[in-house]
């Protein structure tokens, strides 16, 4: 049974001071799903959330809620609630009054408010803290109050703007599980914004990867990870070696000067493509047995595995393996056909996937240092 769309964004464009923040965005969000907007800062994910909340109106395009256009409907009339990045709890009210805020605004009877707040406090495990002042709470407790305050109003859609960003790693993992549990328990739609790809993959039914005000890919976490549509998605979700390749024919690709069997088809003969190989899918073997040959240039021990950088004809590959290797070793790489994923060329081709360094910023710094040395 196909679920209905609860929120639809149609051809949305938003610009701030002449800068295009969202560019012709289309998105359908299904009822009761956990959907995550994922992207680097400035990609437009928070702007998208604010459009749905009603804090922002699109320059063009429509926002639909339950099939009805809600452009121009003020935030306080929308059946959505938001959990803000820094929680935005009311400092002049205690825990109880914070959670009761929405109900008081709606003039619900005192008895109902009391029951509802008690129920919410149970849901987020804060029973007993009713009278506490907001600034005496820990970050995690404040987070829970924010959740309780939002869902006490029975929203049809809950918007979460990087709600876990301020928590430390372990607490964040606990809260991820708890949010997921709450979402399943209440059966409401969660629209979650984050720049943390791991968070997106663990929590979501569907992930929307955004960059530059555009949606790059929408799909299940598995789809996004295993079948990235372009170099941006491949690089942003997990680690990827992305090399230039040429599709010789269906199921047969050439890259790094070698020819490989693969599982992809549907490209033109000799079409230039981006080839993605995940670091964990590469085996390091002896140089004679390797399909590609190179030299180890760096080894880092990360606990679960080693992260090894291998220089193959000037291109730095990242390989994750549990076997130890040493800098200077000559090694061969062995790649199974199902480890190779082929993508069409895009505007992002050539920007990502070489592990000379991990970030663009580092690349720029290196370039500047080289220039200075000349």
């Amino acid at each position: 049974m196909e679920k209905e769309n609860i929120v639809e964004l149609k051809n949305i464009s938003v610009a701030f001071d002449g800068e295009q923040v969202l560019d012709g965005l289309n998105l359908e969000i299904k009822d009761k799903e956990f959907i995550t907007l994922l992207g680097p800062s400035g990609c437009g994910k928070t702007t998208t959330l604010r459009l749905i909340a009603g804090f922002l109106e699109p320059d063009s395009g429509d926002v639909l809620f339950g099939g009805e256009k809600i452009n121009g409907v003020p935030a306080y009339k929308r059946q959505v609630n938001t959990i803000f990045q820094r929680y935005a709890l009311f400092p002049h009210l205690n825990v109880y009054e914070n959670i009761a805020f929405g109900l008081r605004v709606k003039k619900r009877p005192e008895k109902e408010i009391k029951e509802k707040v008690a129920e919410m406090l149970r849901l987020v495990n804060l029973t007993g803290l009713e009278k506490r002042h907001i600034d005496t709470l820990s970050g995690g407790q404040q987070q829970r109050v924010a959740i309780a305050r939002a869902i006490a109003n029975h929203p049809k859609v809950l918007l979460l703007d990087e709600p876990l960003a301020a928590l430390d790693l372990k607490l964040r993992k606990d809260m991820q599980k708890e949010l997921k549990k709450i979402q399943e328990q209440l059966g409401i739609t969660f629209i979650f914004v984050t720049h943390d790809q791991e968070e997106a993959l663990t929590m979501s039914d569907r992930v929307v990867v955004m960059d530059g005000g555009k949606i790059q890919q929408v799909g299940s976490p598995q789809d996004i990870y295993n079948e990235p549509q372009n170099a941006f998605v491949a690089d942003f979700i997990g680690e990827s070696n992305i090399v230039d390749g040429k599709m010789l024919r269906d199921y047969y690709v050439e890259f790094s000067g070698q020819k490989f069997d693969c599982l992809d088809k549907g490209f033109n003969e000799n079409e230039l493509v981006d080839v993605v190989v995940r670091p964990e899918d590469v085996d390091i073997v002896s140089p004679e047995k390797g399909m590609l040959k190179g030299q180890v240039t760096s080894v880092a021990f990360l606990g679960v595995h080693y992260e090894i950088i291998v220089d193959i004809g000037g291109f730095k590959w990242m390989i994750q393996t549990t076997d130890e290797h040493f800098v200077g070793d000559n090694v061969g790489l062995f790649i199974e056909p199902d480890a190779i994923h082929i993508m069409k060329k895009s505007e992002y081709s050539g920007l990502y996937g070489d592990y000379s360094s991990y970030s663009e910023e580092m690349d720029e710094m290196n370039e500047m240092a080289e220039e200075a040395a000349e």
Partner: protein
């Protein structure tokens, strides 16, 4: 922990200053309060104050009315000011502060030029055929003077506290169903309370002790505590003047204490 010699030396000028200009004068006031005509101890100056009960009450009423008007004008002004662009906020704050840099006597005196029987306002009224209205020497003129002189001290602390309110709190309130009015009532008002309280204090205190405004704009028809105190020191009847000052001071201290009790001491604002 022992304070180092250097720190104590740094503190010394401040201590000397407050000793000479605050503590000592207070004791002088106290001394004169209980001084009789022959230089002995007496309580008669305090008893004598009973006949000025009416003046004290008038002063309190005038100060309360002026403070209330200031609050009613300043709050909406400050609130809507925070909604305008940053550049116009800066401009308006400057305009509000501008009169504060001018001498109070000059500002008050300027009003006599406007309100006088042959003043600017009455000439204007005559011109359009309304005839003269007696403005000087009325309670309205005195209140006007107080409001005009002290309203910046109400606007600024309120403006500061409102503009410090995190915008995400307003969005949160809206998100939870608050329309503009409910946002104002449930979030902006309670969070700007410290500013309101310090504004009230900063207007009420000078209003209750003023003498120049009532003299100039009241034409001597309206007597406030400040006027009586001034007269006593001119006569001179130092003991009576001192005892009135002392009572006024105690009253002000009690009012400030009550105000501070209202606002949570930790909630910021500009307390004097």
């Amino acid at each position: 922990m022992k304070t180092s010699l250097g720190k104590r030396l740094l503190n010394a000028p401040c201590a000397v200053w407050s000793a000479i200009f605050i503590i000592v004068p207070l004791f002088i006031v106290l001394y004169y309060t209980f001084l009789d005509k022959d230089g002995g101890f007496t309580l008669s100056n305090i008893y004598e104050l009973a006949q000025y009960k009416g003046v004290f009450i008038t002063s309190i009423i005038y100060a309360l009315v002026a403070t209330a008007i200031c609050l009613l004008l300043a709050y909406p002004f400050a609130y809507f000011l925070t909604k305008t662009s940053v550049s116009s906020q800066k401009m308006m704050v400057l305009l509000v502060m501008l009169p504060m840099w001018m001498n109070l006597l000059i500002k008050t005196y300027s009003w006599t030029v406007i309100l006088d029987n042959n003043g600017v306002l009455n000439r204007l009224l005559n011109l359009i055929g309304f005839g003269s209205v007696k403005l000087m020497g009325t309670p309205g003129a005195v209140i006007l003077g107080m409001v005009y002189d002290y309203i910046p001290y109400m606007i600024l602390p309120i403006y500061t506290t409102i503009s410090k309110i995190d915008n995400s709190l307003l969005e949160a309130a809206e998100d939870l169903g608050s329309n503009a009015f409910s946002k104002l009532k449930r979030v902006v008002l309670p969070l700007s309370l410290p500013g309101v309280l310090s504004g009230i204090t900063m207007v009420f205190v000078p209003s209750i002790s003023t003498f120049y405004i009532s003299q100039k704009l009241g034409n001597g028809m309206i007597l406030l505590v400040g006027d009586i105190i001034e007269t006593q020191f001119k006569i001179p009847n130092y003991p009576l003047g001192a005892s009135m000052s002392l009572v006024l001071m105690i009253f002000i201290i009690i009012s400030i204490a009550i105000m501070n009790k209202f606002g949570d001491s930790d909630s910021g604002g500009v307390m004097i």
